[in-house]
Symmetry: C2
Subunit: 352 residues, 2 copies
Amino acid sequence: MAKSGKKSDAGKGAAAPRPFGGVRRATSYDVAKLAGVSQSAVSRCFAPGGSIAPATREKVMKAATELGYRPNALAQALITRRTNLVAVFISRLTNLHYPEVLAELSRQLTDRDIRVLLFALTAESEIDLLLEQVWRHDVDGIISAARLDDEQIAGIRRHGIPIVLYNRTAGEHLTPSVWCDSAAGERDLVDRLLAAGHRRFAVVAGPQDSAVGEERRLATLARLAEAGIHDVPVTRGDFSYASGREAVATLAGAATPPDAVVCVSDVMAIGAIDGCRFDLGLKVPEDVSVVGFDGSEPAGWMSYQVTSIRQPVRRMTAAAVEMLLERIEDPTLPAERRSFVGAFVPGQSARL
Amino acid sequence: MAKSGKKSDAGKGAAAPRPFGGVRRATSYDVAKLAGVSQSAVSRCFAPGGSIAPATREKVMKAATELGYRPNALAQALITRRTNLVAVFISRLTNLHYPEVLAELSRQLTDRDIRVLLFALTAESEIDLLLEQVWRHDVDGIISAARLDDEQIAGIRRHGIPIVLYNRTAGEHLTPSVWCDSAAGERDLVDRLLAAGHRRFAVVAGPQDSAVGEERRLATLARLAEAGIHDVPVTRGDFSYASGREAVATLAGAATPPDAVVCVSDVMAIGAIDGCRFDLGLKVPEDVSVVGFDGSEPAGWMSYQVTSIRQPVRRMTAAAVEMLLERIEDPTLPAERRSFVGAFVPGQSARL
DNA sequence: ACGCATATTGAATGCGAATGCAAATGTCAC
DNA sequence: GTGACATTTGCATTCGCATTCAATATGCGT
């Protein structure tokens, strides 16, 4: 209290004093004093439904502009318990599909006046340490495109922080999520490959703990089984170019080398294509067809033109954001999974 | 005042009430009560150099663990004027070199217990609106890998917020920055191309407002001029694959088509290579040499193997973080530019 | 002109933690 | 046992804003 007692800058008017390097930012009290009203009035001016007389509002706004006043987000958050911050977990930013997701998420959240607290997971990063930070910062919600184990999910739930998973699943717990229906996509691709006469399939899968990777692998194998094709060789990669390339080298060693390689990601498909062409001396798609999944940008480059399924990133991120905001408003909303089907990208890497 | 007057939950002990979906987080008062000490004592326990008796500390820590107490970052920030937040501006996340930079920055900052407030700029995004948010959130500093105009830089300086620019320049203002010495890199590339006998050069530059782009263009032209080569055709792209591809189409129309194309970024080089191969029917590097700059991952893929200069991203981001932290500690530090030279990447896209 | 409903306003309080200051306690020398 | 001094501790205040509550002002009907 005793704001009126501050005299240090009383005479300077608009020229704020600069102690050392930092300007003391104007507070609502400063604005109030200049406008000749109370601090409450200033607060009400900046609140959405504040009860304020038009004349007063004008005075306040004038003073606020003069002082360059902006409500302090920290103080605001502390008292309203709303930070307008959303934590975004994302893994392997260097894996080409995620940057697009992150960019879209960021855009969508920013459009709704929400800031992104980024947690980019590196291989070594201890998620629990990061979650610690999340608690401390009182984020309003979390969007995770990174893998969280059941215990972590449980912790988040215990803290009462809304979360939406992006292309991930969370074990037993029913957790809100958006999801690209990989099964439908892979079925589409397999059907087309079958229709074109391919019979000797191989799959380049992802790590076992990748939900999307596994769904794609299983859907592919299931569809092939339906068509009477069994014992399809599977190699696991880690979604990297190198792993895709190595995978085909492995597969080529088999008794009956494949004539169709289904990769569960575009980057691995690109690696596979290069592996076929440069390591095995095969022509793609003449000798062997390679298909991918995601629809990331490099997959469209002329040298590859990967036949693939494009995830509807924009719609998916929009859904994730929408679901999260809904649950921030009303935490009692039930979990829900929104599924999206991708679009077939013809490409040139498969003989169809 | 009158903290002792609180009786609402006096009898509940450790069992926190759960209003609806959110658990009321334990505060330092809760911990204090349970440990039988004052709130100040709790605070001192969690402060680095807090004066606290070992016995007391133990009691407090026990209570804190029991309640799952974590100091509230908001309240902490409000009073210490330190948010441990750094705003990171980054543009065109989809442009393949930035994700790597962002991932590294994030890692380095996280390692130092600082959180990243991400501002991913889209073409349309109004930087001034984002800066507005930056003010409101009291970030401790800014790292910008996005273009800021002089006025924006001036605003940041006026607010007394330390900033470090990443591969950017800021007009008149002397602003701390880290920088990859593009000039040295381009000279290296040009020298090698010259030594290999190339004489008909062309440059695929970036937009005029790109500092790195311009430095690379100018350095290239300057070196060529030193070697007596003038009137080198220049086409501008926007760092995208498509623009690189289109650029070579344009250049090929010239009277004397080039035998060496210097692209100021790897992605454009990739586009250029594909343009040469698929649009013009030229062989790279037999018919024409293409070199890039950056050292981004796809540039290493077998189909391209771009001859290039790799930016020392890790060292550069480390320097950016270090410079920023230094200036957060001591805002009076003078501006400084740290320059890094990239390493030559042989590749296969140039006949050397 | 008077009573009452409605619209504005300001004083006071609290969000959760850090910290200056003074009080309390402990330690040691003599 | 006493005083000087170092170590711990708690009280009270503060950060900047939102919000409750009571007070004041305004408008209306009659």
